[in-house]
Symmetry: C2
Subunit: 343 residues, 2 copies
């Protein structure tokens, strides 16, 4: 009974995505997991997580090995560098703190030991770390099925998940070495034999493919207040709005990243969520809760990438500007913007 062969993993962000990751890692037995929680810290610290999961079934009172409500400051607290840091918070670069500020106490700038895993959506999320942490290997995690936290610590994941892990490219590092870390992470995550976690060499393909949903249905559902079932029932919303947006992503993927998405990806993505489940994409959930929305990485980055190489993206441009205005409204409501007094 020794932990000598176990890897240490710090999971930052224990909402629906992070909680499922911790469950897989800990049940697999190859990782010692420390989790950092914020809004659900007291609930999970007291009674653990409850899961209703397509992969794990019903699990009640599950507790990660170590539960914290602060990011470990590894120097001040004399903690050895973690083998992996898994970032599963929302990524909202337009609202402080940045993910870099968030992770830095646990990840010194000159780090080479710790592998950072970004279990977050959107494009170019690794780019800021190339400057702040140029020698840190960074992995990409793309999950195909959403999960939701109904109340603090109560996680529901209706369908079996599939997680794609790959290495973000970094000119300062050996690509094979980073790929080895990706494979090691896959082995660790898969050891539980539950969630299907696979090594995927084509990170950009995985990310652009998911953007067909995330850059389009996410903001459209958020802005209209219609879930992915209702948007398919609402007159011409799919043909007049959703599909034109999706086609812009398909064109940008090819032109900006050389990513050829399958014929039929647009219809496949429209039909992805079961109609009669009336699922709300994460951005719609966030907006309804008054939370900030992840529109810069989901929508702004693919838009900028596409336009940079001349792809015409009028639908996403309007959706982006509307999302930006909605984000400003959220900031004002939270007192982060000063405006002149009403006369």
């Amino acid at each position: 009974m020794t932990n000598a062969h176990k890897k240490t993993v710090l999971v930052i962000g224990g909402g629906a995505v992070g909680a499922v990751a911790v469950l897989n890692l800990q049940v697999g037995g190859l990782a010692d997991v420390t989790i950092v929680l914020r809004s659900n810290f007291s609930a999970v610290n007291a009674t653990g997580y409850d899961f209703e999961s397509g992969d794990h079934g019903s699990v009640t009172g599950f507790k990660p090995s170590v539960i914290r409500n602060t990011i470990p400051d590894i120097i001040k607290e004399s903690i050895p560098s973690y083998d992996y840091i898994l970032l599963s918070t929302k990524n909202i670069p337009d609202v402080p703190p940045t993910v870099i500020d968030l992770v830095s106490p646990a990840l010194p700038s000159e780090n080479t030991h710790t592998t950072l895993v970004l279990l977050q959506n959107g494009l170019n999320i690794e780019k800021p770390f190339l400057n702040s942490h140029p020698t840190t290997p960074v992995l990409s995690g793309v999950s195909l099925i959403g999960s939701a936290e109904l109340t603090p610590g109560q996680i529901v994941q209706d369908e079996p998940d599939k997680l794609f892990i790959g290495a973000f490219s970094n000119p300062n590092l050996s690509e094979p070495a980073t790929q080895d870390r990706a494979r090691e992470f896959v082995a660790m995550y898969s050891a539980a034999g539950k969630t299907q976690c696979v090594y995927s060499p084509n990170v950009l393909h995985d990310r652009w493919k998911k953007l067909v949903y995330n850059a389009c249905l996410n903001p459209i559902c958020a802005i209209t207040g219609l879930d992915t079932g209702r948007i398919r029932l609402a007159d011409e919303a799919i043909e007049g709005l959703v599909k034109p947006a999706m086609r812009e992503i398909v064109a940008a993927a090819k032109a900006a990243a050389g990513v050829d998405l399958d014929d039929g990806i647009v219809q496949w993505t429209v039909d992805m969520d079961p109609l009669e489940s009336y699922l709300k994409p994460s951005m719609q959930q966030d907006l309804e809760k008054g939370n900030f929305i992840e529109f810069e990485n989901l929508l702004g980055e693919p838009l900028r990438e596409g336009r940079k190489v001349g792809v015409f993206m009028p639908t996403l441009q309007v959706l982006y500007q509307l999302a930006k205005a909605v984000q400003w409204r959220n900031m004002e409501r939270k007192g982060m913007v000063d405006i002149p007094k009403k006369k």
Copy 2:
């Protein structure tokens, strides 16, 4: 003290717009006014309207001559044809009843006597009457300043108004004769010497000019939840979203209707509402109250007119589709749409 020289006017719709019209017409003394009210009938019938008006000052307990809560059926009720019917309801052709169904009991199809005045926004609102009431003269009323009904019967109109009255063209009627009716209506409306009401020969110019605001700021404010003050403060919303939409209207006005809007109309319209008043356009007010929005005449018609003659209108196309989806959401919430049960 005889009413022999007075014209009979039926005003349908006694919200903020209709109430101000009734006040002008009745104070002027040249009209006998009957008003048809719906949601504010009992309030106004009991204690009259209260106004805080830039044109009329404070007026309390004002009552139109006749207050009804049904459209007069002039045949069944043996009422002589009205000289004028002023329609000041919302105009929402995508939600029944249509304005034609609404007005028909008071306006027989073969009418020639009654002049219909459409004190409503948007484009092509006279077109349906060409079929249903081919011999009825129809006038256009475009008001430059918005007013609001704070609670039933409480009308606020901060700034002096300016009302443009003109004749819609109708191939079945003599244009000079319809223009004479427009001038007569202006005289009647102006007799109070309060609101500035002028005869305007170029109806299309008036309507396209107002669309620079109504097709753009109206849906953008409604969709983002930001009023016309806040939208000017929110990062790049004006440059990235509002002005591109407005430029599409300017281009469509010229190409579709030969209407040359002034240089500077875009900036002028952006600056029209005082920033620090934080005014909500009507569509935003309607959406916040859970009411249907007037997006077809304000946004759909100029879009269709522009596209018919090849104007490229990508911003308004996306705004139109979003507004349509939002309208569908309202319909579903009001139980007007059946959707499959959630599984």
